[in-house]
Symmetry: D2
Subunit: 369 residues, 4 copies
Amino acid sequence: MKQHYEVVVIGGGIIGCSIAYYLAKEKVDVALFEKGQIGLMTTSAAAGMLGAHSESNGEDTIFSFARSSQQAYLRLKDELYQLSGIDIGYKEGGILKLVFSDTDKHQLTPLLKQPTAEWLDKEEVKKREPLIAPNILGAAYIKDDVSVIPDQTCESFAKSARALGASIMESNGVYQVEKKDGNYLVRTMHGDVEANYVVFATGVYGNGLFRQIGLDEELIPIKGESLIVHSEQHVLEYTLFHESCYIVPRNNGKLVIGATMIKKDWSDTVSLEGIKFLIEKAKAMIPSAIEWKIDHVQAGLRPGTFDGNPFIGRHPEEERILIACGHYRNGILLAPATGEMIRDFVVGKDINNGWMQTFRVDRRQSIVV
Amino acid sequence: MKQHYEVVVIGGGIIGCSIAYYLAKEKVDVALFEKGQIGLMTTSAAAGMLGAHSESNGEDTIFSFARSSQQAYLRLKDELYQLSGIDIGYKEGGILKLVFSDTDKHQLTPLLKQPTAEWLDKEEVKKREPLIAPNILGAAYIKDDVSVIPDQTCESFAKSARALGASIMESNGVYQVEKKDGNYLVRTMHGDVEANYVVFATGVYGNGLFRQIGLDEELIPIKGESLIVHSEQHVLEYTLFHESCYIVPRNNGKLVIGATMIKKDWSDTVSLEGIKFLIEKAKAMIPSAIEWKIDHVQAGLRPGTFDGNPFIGRHPEEERILIACGHYRNGILLAPATGEMIRDFVVGKDINNGWMQTFRVDRRQSIVV
Amino acid sequence: MKQHYEVVVIGGGIIGCSIAYYLAKEKVDVALFEKGQIGLMTTSAAAGMLGAHSESNGEDTIFSFARSSQQAYLRLKDELYQLSGIDIGYKEGGILKLVFSDTDKHQLTPLLKQPTAEWLDKEEVKKREPLIAPNILGAAYIKDDVSVIPDQTCESFAKSARALGASIMESNGVYQVEKKDGNYLVRTMHGDVEANYVVFATGVYGNGLFRQIGLDEELIPIKGESLIVHSEQHVLEYTLFHESCYIVPRNNGKLVIGATMIKKDWSDTVSLEGIKFLIEKAKAMIPSAIEWKIDHVQAGLRPGTFDGNPFIGRHPEEERILIACGHYRNGILLAPATGEMIRDFVVGKDINNGWMQTFRVDRRQSIVV
Amino acid sequence: MKQHYEVVVIGGGIIGCSIAYYLAKEKVDVALFEKGQIGLMTTSAAAGMLGAHSESNGEDTIFSFARSSQQAYLRLKDELYQLSGIDIGYKEGGILKLVFSDTDKHQLTPLLKQPTAEWLDKEEVKKREPLIAPNILGAAYIKDDVSVIPDQTCESFAKSARALGASIMESNGVYQVEKKDGNYLVRTMHGDVEANYVVFATGVYGNGLFRQIGLDEELIPIKGESLIVHSEQHVLEYTLFHESCYIVPRNNGKLVIGATMIKKDWSDTVSLEGIKFLIEKAKAMIPSAIEWKIDHVQAGLRPGTFDGNPFIGRHPEEERILIACGHYRNGILLAPATGEMIRDFVVGKDINNGWMQTFRVDRRQSIVV
């Protein structure tokens, strides 16, 4: 371990690993510290939908940011494979946002104005997904909302960053960050290092460090449980989505049914209540889902923020402390754009002003005023 | 592997292992052949209730057999520990057969005439199990219906049998049994052996062999799925039982919620339907069960017979071919008594006539006539 | 389940699934019966090397067969993905057959005459794989010996076959095959079906059925244990091979270290001896392998034959009983060519005469004569 | 969660859980905060030897402390079972400290002066453990050094503490402790609570908090890897011990082979190097161990201190901050005595002065002076 790095990234989930990757691509001397293993916490429990349209009505700032990130994956999938030897499991097909009621339909109105979304009537949905529930009324189809396999994608970012010169340190948590001689002293379990920049990519686990560096914001855990299942048959072509639940077919033959949303639960265990809820939701979309076989269950803590948008930007008082936290349930989707944005802060490139304003760390104060 | 044994036992589930144990205790030269690993199929998916009263109204022949077997465990738990170093997880406490309706109550009438069963009113049940559903009306309490941990019990039988001189051979299936010079030729994956007696303890997996030896009976798989869960708290003192579902607290801190009953399904996968059913049943007994955390799921194939009773006895035409199959969901409970009964056939001791008649292999023919 | 199929395939490993796939492509009415789950036994424990050159000196009949099969995968990877939604994990890069001694080098002489093999000297090997052991002398590089992920490939064959109309039945073993009215009666756990053709693709588990149909040959289990490991770094670009051991980097970031060869062991457990041996072999190729982290261990039973070549062809006396067994450690590699060859027997296409003679089931008799 | 507790314990490993138990027994109002799950880190990776003599030559202070703790388990095993329904897996038999050389023998000299230790010659060792390596020279036998199953023991302490009124909170880490109005303010992920006493039972994970409260001492991780294996036979009656490695037979039929000692490694992964080392050590004690089958691997971080003794006592400047950390590889053994000692600090009972002096937190300063 060197004694000085230009940038230290704290946190080895997909956000931190993407940041390390984009910085290493620019030949920035970057080190990432992860207290456990790369991608093992929130990242590994994600479904991996790149749902730019699923999580947005297509009109807000986050949509342009999400679209930019979604498109970055088109290049990344080959780029990362070359550098890391790991396939990110990019699965084409797209998503069907299902409509079972007038309310469902109404909520899709803004989305259906987007050129990337297409309305499919009942017959068309049944033709594409013959196992769909018979009370289906139609669906919005978004071809671009594909999916990846989160843990492989995260590991691929980490190994690619390493291949480009980044230092990626696992089992080495940071417990304190303090100012020292115009730089930052980063205290890790294996010793102290100095850095010109420190990036916090801690997910929900960074609240303690946030307080140390004088940030008022707090990340709120929103636990998500999901089921990994399989079927003897090839049952789904598309990701299905309804009322914040989904079924994602992966290119390894597994299906992911997710996800609950339990506020302020810091555990990563899976309750019988959550399992029952997910089975009922899957059955409502695909009645024969009830016959699918369970492989395992998983849970992760999404990092929520007060307004649902991530914090990406500078510490209000420390220009070279950068925050990249609070991606809620869009961490996989937003990792590339976040990595690019943090890189731009560090290397001094122009950044989209709308994104800067929407994601700035001290926006709550601005709102109050 | 020797070329001749006095007795060959086919099948290394708990029935086969108990038989090998009781024979070895009598210094009979016995070899057991198991195609996979000891206790890994149906046995390991059992809950381990020694429910002599749970599975019977207390008036039939099977009840006296079950009681005899249940009591044998009182001695076995120490005996097996001494020989094998394995604790069978004998858990005292007993069972509550819950009453939520007049029908439930009515069904318990014969059981409550037994001196071993005691009626507990609503208040008493609540006092003993404070988390019970509020609509409880009462329960039959049977102190003697304790539980063991099935895989440990089975392994303990096998290692104890070995310690007493039995040959226990894993990963060595038998594919054919034929007559030879007044004895039996047993053809195994590792070669042929001869035996004076052959005991079939194959569970549901023996139908192919049954046909080879000219037995008309067929074992019917009745798949049972169950959940292994845990709670942060000490939630249950007693096994709870209602409408063929149960929650068994084990002495390793886990709880078993079981079990579905799916006829003619030969798979050992666990479906979402089964899981949902079990969660709903557990919740109906203990509303807060919904908060319990899942550890894993399991399934096993219970071997059913045409009348619900096991086949224990001689082949109708081959005096030294013995059958010990079809214990349905009572394999763990009935293993000791079955082991003793088969031993008695081999060594020529007297056997309870009622048991002989009830469990004889060709009883269907008798019934027809 | 219908009462009649044109072809019944027994066994749902990769050989059986490939056969079902190629038959279904020709619109043959085919049903596959698997006693457990698709691809869960020998197939899932394979490393997935498509080592046409690794397993051959490039001069024998099996080489042309293996090359044909290897090349089929180039088309299959997209074809299967389209039909099944499953990626087979096709990983380019190729293999390095390592040379640490003159003996090693000498053994590669015939292989290096092949146009597909290339000699790399010490420096070149070190350049391509910087972590290689310093006592390396060189390597034969075969670019075409790529790898796939066996369980995903097998499942992809099965689901693709299904999509083309095949019936794939899991948890339904066949216990007897007999002649009936010029056809075959196939007796399964779920009932009897008739077929014009029966294909035995049972791997090592078919010896019992072999005897039933009067085949003298016996498949010999050669157990292979392997380790699935990972490293924090991107450590290998190529599959490494030395003295029948190998390290295969997979495109999901895992490495497979294999494999032991234990004759006549029917168990699928992994012994401490096997693990120790594999760690020592890996260390001899890559000294820093000692730092890799273990994920899990696995074992499978390769089906060996008397001369090392598979049996692919007709039963000597039953023209419409076809055998496709005994692929030893090349099941994944040879699955496509075997599927095509069995298809050709059924639909009456021409078959390469060298392959027919080399793989015919009664070749041992011919040899003796 | 209440706003005030008399005592807050930080850390839900076996030390913290024992402390909560002993305090709850005295009706002290105690809350324990664990950031993850009870007993899941270092505790669950322990072998569970109660090796009072194994870890000591029988002459130092720690020996009397360890013996006291060992004897407490004799009572605890029933007491905890009554309260929690969990069996701690107390396994009698004792330990053999093996002698393969004169050096080995020499090192045992002080131990063999203890009345609890007995010398067994070569023949006697072979008689008791027939599988022992033939080059054995003898062994010290200590009957009292029995073993328990660590995770079950820890969970049993936690549930028993709960049953006696303690609040045990999982998934709720403490990130800061500060003084407030003569009491302590404990800041947890779920909010702040006040306490009259705070006990640090954090194992190696508490270094960050140590600094916050002004403690100079640092806990050093010494990672231990181990293997959980099984054998078809009943292979061992006694725990075997040689050169800091051991084989522990558990009463659930498993054997634990441990353990490596890797300094300053914060990861909990298991390396190929560690596995190889352990297999070689097991083989040196029991040559046929090489045939045992692996179940799984595990690793945990033992908390080391500068002098090898734990810190048990008062913060040098804060009388009501108590430390119970640094139990190295004796956490399971020392948990009861540590719980009793911390209880005595809180309730004001007399404490053995030798223990107080040996374990005091600021002893390094005294030494220096």
